[in-house]
Amino acid sequence: MTYNIFRSALVVAACVGFTACSLNEKLGDALVRKDADSIIKAPQLLQNAYNNLQYAYQDFSQTWGMSEMSTDEALGPTRGKDWDDNGVWRELHEHKWTPDHAHINNSFKGLLLLQFSATNVLNFRPNPGQEAEARFLRALSIFSVLDLYGQVPFRNPTDTLLNAPKVMKPAEAIEFMKSELTAVTPNLGNMPATQAYVANKDAARFLLMKLYLNKGAFLNRQAPTFDAADMQEIIKLADQITASGYKLADNYYDNFARDNDVKSTENIFTQQNGPGFSTSRLPSANNVFCRWMCTLHYSQRPSGWNGFTTLSDFYDKYEPTDKRLGGFYSGVTDTSGLKVGFLIGQQYDQNGNKILDRSGRPLIFTREVQLRATGDQVEMSGIRVVKYPPDFLTTKSTSENGNDASNDFVFFRYADVLLMKAEALLRTGNAPAALLLVNQIRLKRGATPLAALDLNSLLDERGRELYWEGWRRQDLIRFGKFLQPWQLKPTDDPKYLLFPIPTSDLAVNKNLVQNPGY
C-alpha cells in the first residue's frame, strides 16, 4: 500500500509537475519603461507633445468651441435634424452648460494630456533647448486650463500616475507660469530664424503678456484688477517682440492661408499642418480644416457640414470697407467661387452661377439666425465665417474635405501683441499712445481710424481683429462683459465665468473642488 501511494505520487509528479515558468509579459509594438529610458530620446517625446496641441486647440469642439461658441462671436444653431448633438452647441451659447457637457469634459482631458506629454519630456534628459520647448508647452496647457476651469491639476515629472495630483489655485499657477516662462525664454530660439511652429522666445513672451494681462481676471473674474507694474511688463515684452521684425500683413488672410508659414509676417506661434502632420495625430482630431467645414453649406465647395455662424450684431461692428470682412482670395475664389471672411447673401460658384441648397432653392445666407433654425431658413440661416482660406492645392490629390489642409494653425499673432500693448497703455492712462497702435492696425485693414479709444472700442477692435481665433471669451471676461446679455443669450449667471470640472475628473481627484454654482 505504501508502495502504491508512493508510485501514485511519483506518476502524478512526473506527469503534472512541470517547473512553473515565470510569467513575464513581453510587449509587442511598445517598449517597457526600462528599455524606453535608453532607446527613446527627448525629441521624440517633444514631437508627441507638439502633436497633442492639435486636438486640444485645433478641433472645433474643444477649447476653441468653449472660447468662441460661448461668446457674441459664434453660434452653433440646431438646423432641424442636424446639429442638435445633445444640445452641446446651444448650451455653450446660451450659457446653460453642465458638468456632463461632452466637450467640456474632453477639453479638460486634452489639455491635461498636453501637460503630461510636455512634462514627460523632462524625464528623458532633454538638452536645454528641448527642455525649454517642453516647459513652454506645459505652461501653455496650464494657461488654458486656468483660463477655462480656474484650477489646474499638476504633476511633477516623476509623480506616480496612480495618485491624485495636487491642484494649483490661480495665484500659484500664475506664479508658476511666470517663473517658468521667464526661465525658459533665454533657451528658446530667436525669431524670425526659428520656424513659427517651434516654440520660440517671442512665443514665450507673448504668453507672458497674456498672463500679465489676465492675471487680475484669473484671480477675480467678477471684478478683474490690473496692476500698473504688470502693464509695464506687457509693454516691455511687446517691444521685445516687435524688435524681432514682425509687420502687419498686407493681406490679412495671408496669415491663415495654406502657405501662411511663408506668407505671414505676423505669426509668432503656430502648429504645422499638412499631409503627414494632421492625419497621424489623435484619433478623431481635426486640423484647421474643420474651421471652414463646420460653417460651409453642403452645396458649397468644399462641401461643408453646414453648421456654425456668427451673429448679426457682431457682423455689424465692421465698416463695409474693412478688409477683414473678406472677399476674393486667390486660389480659393477662382477655384470654387468661395469667398473668405464673412459670407452673407447669395453664394456663387467659380463661374458665377448661383449655388442652390439641397432642395433646389438659391443658397442665400441670411443675416439673422435662431438657436433652432426653422422653416425655409433651416439650411440657410446665419452669416458664415471663413477665416482660414480653404487649401485646394494640397488636398487636390486627396480630398477637398479631408484632414490634410496645409494651413498652419495660428496660436499667437503680432496684431494681438500690438492690441495687448495698447490695452496696457490704455489701462495705465496712456490712451493717445494706445490709439496710435489701434489705428496702425485699422489703417492696414482698410478701416477708418478711430478718433478716440476707450475700453469698449478697444474690446470691439480686438473682436474685429481676432475674430474666431479663440480669444473672445477671455477678452469678454477681462473687460467685464461676459455676463451681459447678447443675441440669443438673454440672461446669465456668474457661475458661467468658469467652466465646471468634469464629473469623472472630480470623482477621481479629491484635490479638485467643483467650481461654485455647479
Binding site: A20, L27, G28, K81, D85, L113, L162
Partner: protein, 983 residues
C-alpha cells in the same frame, strides 16, 4: 517554461508498460444486435465478460466472435441503449435486442479536462446534441443552440452572413467587453478573437465584427455542453466567469467505414421591411407639408436596389470508421452563402481530420488527434456600427428619395454631387470589401492508461489564423472623402495561440458503495496577435481594383502602420475530486490556480475553488417502491471564477512609437490589476416522472461579480483618458431557470415530443460610488456625442439614461420633461424573461420539428428611427411612414430621447423542418432523408425596426452597449431543401 521536460515526462510514462491479457480461444459465436424497433445497431460493442476482448457489430448489426470455452456471458453495449448481459453458454447464435435507455441519465457530459456521466453531475450543465440543433443555414455553432438551453441568450447582432453573436450565460456580469463565454473545442480553450482586420474606409464607419467560430462546420459537431454555474466552470478559472461552452466534434466509431453526404440549398429574403414612403406617398407628403422641392418625378425603391434573393449551397462529406484500436473521421464542407444584400456573403471551406490510435499490445497508450482547417471569405457591404451623417448602405437605401431615379435614362447610376444623398445602388457598386481568413486548429493528445485506475493525458494544440482584408471605394461615389480620388485599404491580422496541458485522472471503486474520481493537471497557454495595415487615397482608375495597385497613389497619400499586441501567457494548476457514495451522494470539489502575464506584478496568481454536492433522492430507501418519481435529484454548488478580458500590457508602462518617429507613454500602468471575480451559488432540482415521459430541471442561481475590470477615467494629467482598474462595486445576477422535456404521445407510429425552457433574470450594479459610466453611443446626423446608456449604482447594467419625451408642442417641436435639461434613468435592454420552445412530431417516416424562442421585458433603442428616417428628411430624402401627420414639425430636432425606446419583447418562430426519412435505398444508400426547413418564419413583436433581436455595437471607450439598433444588416427569412444519405 520547460517544454522539453514535458515531452521527457511523457516519454517516461510511455515506458511504464503493463502486461496485457492473453486468452485461449476455442469457439465462435455469431449474432445480431438490434434496437427495440428491430433496427440494426452498427457499432454496438460486444465484450466477453471478465475479459477485455470483444468486437463490434458491423453495418447490419451482425458480429462474429471467438471466445474461450470458459466464457459464458457477453456484455452488449451501445450509447443510448441499456447495456445487456447475455448468457451464451451452449449457443452459437444469439440475437440481442437492446432497449433504449433513459438517455438523460447515462449520457456522458464533457466537464472540462474529462467527462462525467450525467448522473454524476453536480453543477448546472446543459447538453445539446446534434439531433436537437437548430436546422437551416448557420455559419457558427452558437446559432445551433439558440433557444435550446435555459439561461443562455444568443442574439444575432445583425443578419449579415457570418456576423458575430452576443452570447450571454445567466445575464451580463461584466461592465466592459469580454462578456462572451469561453469556448472550448475538443479540449482546447479558444482565444475569443478572430484574425479579421477591422477598418474604416472613406469615413463609412466600423463594420461589425465577424463571429470567431465561423471556422467550425456545424455538421461536424456532435454535441455542445453549456457549463453555467461556477461549480462547473471553476475548472476554467480566470476565464470561466461568463460560463463555458464546450464543443465536441463528431468522432469515428468502431465498425465499418461509412461515408455521410449532405447537401442543401436555401433561398433567403429579407424577413421584414421598414415602412418608408413610396413615390406617390412621398409626393402626397410633400403637398401635405407644403413643400415645393423634393419631387424628382421618378419612382424608385432604395431598399430594392440593394437587396436580392440570396442562394446558399451547403455540401458536406464525412468519412469515418475504425476498429477497437484505431478510428478516424475526416470531413469536408463547403458553404457558399449569398447574403440578402447584394455583394455580401460568406464562402467557407472546412476540412477536419480526427482520430484515435491505440498502441502497444496492452493498448494502454493512445493518441487522439484533431485537425480543423478552414478558409472563409467574407464579402462585406458598407453597413457599419457608427456611420455619421453620410450613413451606411442600409441607411442610405432607407433614406433614398423614392421620387429620385436610381438609374439615369441612359442606364448609368444617378450619382449626386458630394454632400448630397448617396445612391445606395451606386454605393454598393463602388464598395468592394473582402476578408479572407485561414484557420488551423490542431491538437494532438497522447494518453496512457497505467491501469484501471490511473490515466495520464497531455494535449498540445495550436490555433493559427491569418486574415487579410482588401477594401476599396471607387472614386465615382459622392462621399466627401472619396469622390474623385478613390480610397483603399489592405489590412492583415495574425492570431497565434498555443496550449500545452497534462493531467492525471484517478478513478477507483473503493468499495461497493464508494467511487472516487480525481484529476490533477497543469496547463500553459500563450496568445499573440499582430497585423499590418496599408491605406491609400488617390487612384488613377477604378478599372483595376485599388488594392491591386497600391503603388499608384502619391507617397504622401499612402499610410502604412503595423502593430503587435503584447503577448500574454497563462499558466494554470488545477484539480478535481468527485466522490460518489452509493450513487446517492455525490460531491465534487475543484480548484484552479491561474497565473497570467496580464495581471499586475502585485497579483500574479488567482485561485478559483468550487464545491458542489448532489443527492439522488430516488435511490434512497424511503423512495423505494414509490412510483411517482423515476428520478429526483437535488444539486447545490458554490464556486469562484474569474475574468481576465482586459488588454495585455495594461499593468505595465508602455512607450509607443508614433508616426514620424514621435514617441510617448501610451497607458497608465496599474501593477495592482487582477482578474475580475464571480462568486456564484447554484441550487437545482432534476426530476423525471411518468416513466420518464416528463423530465425537467429547475435551477436558482445568485452570481456576485466583484473587482470589476474596467477602463476607468485616468487621473489627469495622464497619458491616456482611461486606464484599467478593478472597480469597487459589484454586479449581481440572479435568476431561475426551468427546462422541461416531455413525450406527449408515444405510439408505435406516432411520437410527439415537446421541450420548453424559461429563464427569469435580474441584474443590478451595487455598491458602486464612482462616476456614472457612459455607453450606448447614438450615431447619425445631428446627434454627435449623444449617448443613451449608463452604468450606475442601483440600476441594471446598460440602463437607458435619456431625456423623457412627452410629445409635441403646438409648433410641432418636441417637448421633454424639465425642458430636456434633465436626463432620467429609464428602462433597460436586458430581457427579464427568456423563453425557448421546441417540439417534434414523428409519424412513421415523417417528422416535423419546430423551434422558437423569445425574450420579454426589455427595450430596444431604435437609432435607425432616430437619425436615419426623421421627419426633417422630408423634402430631401425619405422618412418613416408612421411620422406622417403625427404633429411634428419638419424642423424638429431628433434629439436622443425616450421617444426612440421601444418595447423589444418578441417571440420568433426560428425554425420549422419537415423531414422524410427514406431509410435505406437498395443496397447502396443508407439512412437517406430529405427535408425542407423554413427559418425565421415569423416574429411576434411590437418593435418597429427590422428585428428586435439586434445588437449594434455602440460601445463608448470600450464599455459595452447592448440593445441598440442602428441601420443593421437586415435579418433574412430562409427556405431550404436538403438531403442526406450514407454509403
Amino acid at each position: 517554461m520547460n517544454k522539453l521536460r514535458l515531452f521527457k515526462n511523457l516519454f517516461l510514462c510511455t515506458l511504464l508498460l503493463i502486461q496485457g491479457f492473453v486468452m485461449a480461444q476455442n469457439r465462435t459465436i455469431t449474432g445480431k444486435v438490434t434496437d427495440s424497433q428491430g433496427a440494426a445497431i452498427p457499432g454496438a460493442t460486444i465484450q466477453i465478460k471478465g475479459t477485455k476482448s470483444g468486437t463490434t457489430a458491423d453495418a447490419d448489426g451482425n458480429f462474429k466472435l471467438s471466445l474461450p470455452t470458459s466464457a459464458n456471458t457477453l456484455i452488449i453495449s451501445f450509447m443510448g441503449q441499456k447495456t445487456q448481459e447475455v448468457n451464451v453458454a451452449n449457443q452459437t447464435t444469439v440475437n440481442i435486442k437492446l432497449e433504449a435507455e433513459n438517455t438523460t441519465l447515462t449520457d456522458v457530459v464533457v466537464v472540462g479536462y474529462g467527462t462525467t456521466r450525467k448522473k454524476d453531475i453536480t453543477g448546472a450543465i446543459a447538453q445539446v446534441k446534434a439531433g436537437d440543433f437548430n436546422k437551416g443555414i448557420t455559419t457558427a455553432p452558437d446559432q445551433l443552440i439558440q433557444g435550446k438551453v435555459s439561461g443562455l441568450m444568443v442574439v444575432n447582432n445583425s443578419g449579415a452572413p457570418g456576423a458575430a453573436t452576443t452570447v450571454r450565460i445567466r445575464g451580463v456580469s461584466s461592465v466592459r467587453s469580454g462578456n462572451q463565454p469561453l469556448y472550448v473545442v475538443d479540449g482546447v480553450p479558444l482565444d475569443g478573437r478572430v484574425a479579421r482586420p477591422s477598418l474604416n474606409v472613406g469615413g463609412l464607419g466600423q463594420t461589425p465584427d465577424a463571429n470567431p467560430l465561423n471556422f467550425i462546420n456545424s455538421s461536424d459537431i456532435a454535441s455542445m455542453d453549456i457549463l453555467k454555474d461556477a461549480s462547473a466552470t471553476a475548472i476554467y478559472g480566470s476565464r470561466g466567469a461568463n460560463g463555458v461552452i464546450i464543443i465536441s466534434t463528431k468522432k469515428g466509431t468502431p465498425g465499418p467505414t461509412r461515408l455521410d453526404v449532405n447537401y442543401s440549398i436555401g433561398m433567403s429574403n429579407i424577413m421584414k421591411r421598414l415602412n418608408v414612403l413610396d413615390a406617390d406617398e412621398y409626393r402626397a407628403a410633400l403637398k401635405q407639408y407644403n413643400l415645393t422641392g423634393g419631387d424628382f418625378g421618378s419612382s424608385s425603391n432604395g431598399m430594392n436596389s440593394i437587396l436580392r434573393t440570396g442562394i446558399t449551397h451547403n455540401v458536406g462529406v464525412a468519412m469515418s470508421g475504425g476498429n477497437e484500436t484505431s478510428r478516424y473521421r475526416a470531413s469536408f464542407g463547403m458553404q457558399d452563402q449569398q447574403g440578402i444584400v447584394k455583394k455580401t456573403g460568406l464562402k467557407k471551406y472546412t476540412a477536419t481530420l480526427n482520430g484515435q490510435n491505440k498502441f502497444l499490445d496492452s493498448k494502454q497508450l493512445g493518441i487522439d488527434y484533431n485537425i480543423m482547417a478552414a478558409q472563409t471569405t467574407e464579402q462585406l457591404a458598407p453597413i457599419t456600427n457608427d456611420a455619421g451623417f453620410t450613413g451606411s448602405l442600409v441607411g442610405q437605401a432607407l433614406q433614398w428619395n423614392p421620387t429620385m431615379p436610381i438609374y439615369n435614362a441612359d442606364g448609368s447610376l444617378n450619382i449626386l454631387p458630394a454632400g448630397k444623398a448617396v445612391n445606395p445602388a451606386a454605393m454598393s457598386e463602388a464598395y468592394n470589401d473582402k476578408a479572407n481568413i485561414s484557420y488551423i486548429l490542431a491538437s494532438v493528445s497522447p494518453f496512457f492508461k497505467f491501469n484501471d485506475n490511473w490515466e495520464y493525458r497531455m494535449t498540445y494544440s495550436v490555433n493559427h489564423q491569418v486574415g487579410q482584408r482588401r477594401t476599396s471605394v471607387a472614386s465615382f461615389i459622392n462621399l466627401n472623402d472619396v469622390i474623385g480620388k478613390g480610397s483603399a485599404a489592405y489590412n492583415t491580422a495574425e492570431l497565434n495561440t498555443q496550449l500545452l496541458n497534462g493531467f492525471v485522472t484517478y478513478n477507483k471503486q473503493l468499495n461497493s458503495s464508494f467511487n472516487l474520481n480525481a484529476m490533477v493537471g497543469y496547463e500553459y497557454q500563450k496568445f499573440n496577435y499582430s497585423g499590418v495595415n496599408v491605406n491609400a487615397v488617390g487612384f488613377p482608375t477604378y478599372a483595376i481594383d485599388y488594392t491591386d495597385i497600391l503603388q499608384a497613389p502619391a507617397q504622401a497619400n499612402t499610410h502604412l502602420s503595423s502593430f503587435r499586441n503584447p503577448s500574454s501567457e497563462l499558466q494554470s494548476f488545477f484539480g478535481r475530486v468527485t466522490l460518489n457514495l452509493k450513487d446517492r451522494y455525490i460531491f465534487t470539489g475543484t480548484m484552479r490556480a491561474d497565473g497570467s502575464s496580464k495581471f499586475g506584478s502585485n497579483n500574479k496568481y488567482g485561485y478559483f475553488p468550487s464545491f458542489a454536492a448532489s443527492w439522488n433522492i430516488t435511490k434512497e430507501e424511503f423512495m423505494k417502491g414509490g412510483t411517482f418519481f423515476d428520478n429526483l435529484a437535488l444539486r447545490v454548488g458554490y464556486g469562484v471564477t474569474g475574468n481576465q478580458e482586459f488588454p495585455a500590457g495594461a499593468s505595465q508602462a508602455q512607450y509607443g512609437i508614433g508616426s514620424g518617429g514621435s514617441a510617448s507613454l501610451i497607458n497608465v500602468a496599474n501593477p495592482d490589476l487582477k482578474w475580475e471575480t464571480s462568486k456564484q451559488f447554484n441550487a437545482g432540482v432534476d426530476f423525471s416522472i411518468l416513466n420518464n415521459r416528463l423530465s425537467g430541471t429547475v435551477d436558482y442561481f445568485y452570481k456576485n461579480t466583484t473587482n470589476l475590470l474596467f477602463s476607468f477615467p485616468a487621473i489627469q494629467p495622464a497619458p491616456a483618458s482611461n486606464y484599467w482598474i478593478n472597480l469597487p462595486g459589484k454586479v449581481v445576477n440572479n435568476g431561475v431557470e426551468v427546462a422541461l422535456k416531455g413525450v406527449i404521445i408515444n405510439n408505435k407510429d406516432f411520437t410527439w415530443n415537446m421541450g420548453v425552457n424559461g429563464t427569469f433574470l435580474h441584474n443590478e450594479l451595487k455598491g458602486y460610488s464612482g462616476p456614472p459610466v457612459i455607453t450606448g453611443a447614438i450615431n447619425g446626423q445631428g446627434v454627435s456625442g449623444a449617448t443613451s446608456q449608463r452604468l450606475a449604482n442601483g440600476y441594471p447594467l446598460n440602463t437607458f439614461y435619456l431625456r423623457k419625451f412627452i410629445g409635441f408642442d403646438d409648433k410641432g417641436q418636441s417637448v421633454y420633461a424639465d425642458n430636456g435639461e434633465k436626463l432620467y434613468y429609464l428602462t433597460n435592454p436586458n430581457p427579464k424573461v427568456l423563453l425557448g420552445v421546441n417540439t417534434e412530431l414523428i409519424y412513421k417516416k415523417w417528422s416535423l420539428a419546430a423551434s422558437g424562442h423569445g425574450a420579454f421585458g426589455f427595450q430596444v433603442y431604435n437609432n435607425t428611427a432616430n437619425t436615419v428616417l426623421p421627419i426633417g428628411n422630408l423634402g430631401s430624402v425619405n422618412i418613416a411612414k408612421s411620422l406622417l401627420g403625427n404633429g411634428e414639425a419638419l424642423t424638429n430636432a431628433p434629439s436622443a430621447s425616450s421617444r426612440y425606446l421601444e418595447n423589444g419583447s418578441f417571440f420568433k418562430l426560428d425554425n420549422v423542418t419537415l423531414t422524410y426519412n427514406i431509410g435505406n435505398v437498395g443496397k447502396v444508400l443508407k439512412n437517406a432523408a430529405v427535408y425542407v426547413t423554413g427559418q425565421n418564419l415569423f416574429v411576434i413583436t411590437k418593435y418597429t425596426g427590422f428585428d428586435p433581436e439586434v445588437n449594434t455595437d455602440k460601445n463608448v471607450n470600450g464599455v459595452t452597449s447592448f440593445g441598440i439598433e442602428y441601420s443593421p444588416y437586415p435579418t433574412a427569412r430562409t427556405f431550404m431543401f436538403g438531403l442526406l444519405f450514407s454509403l
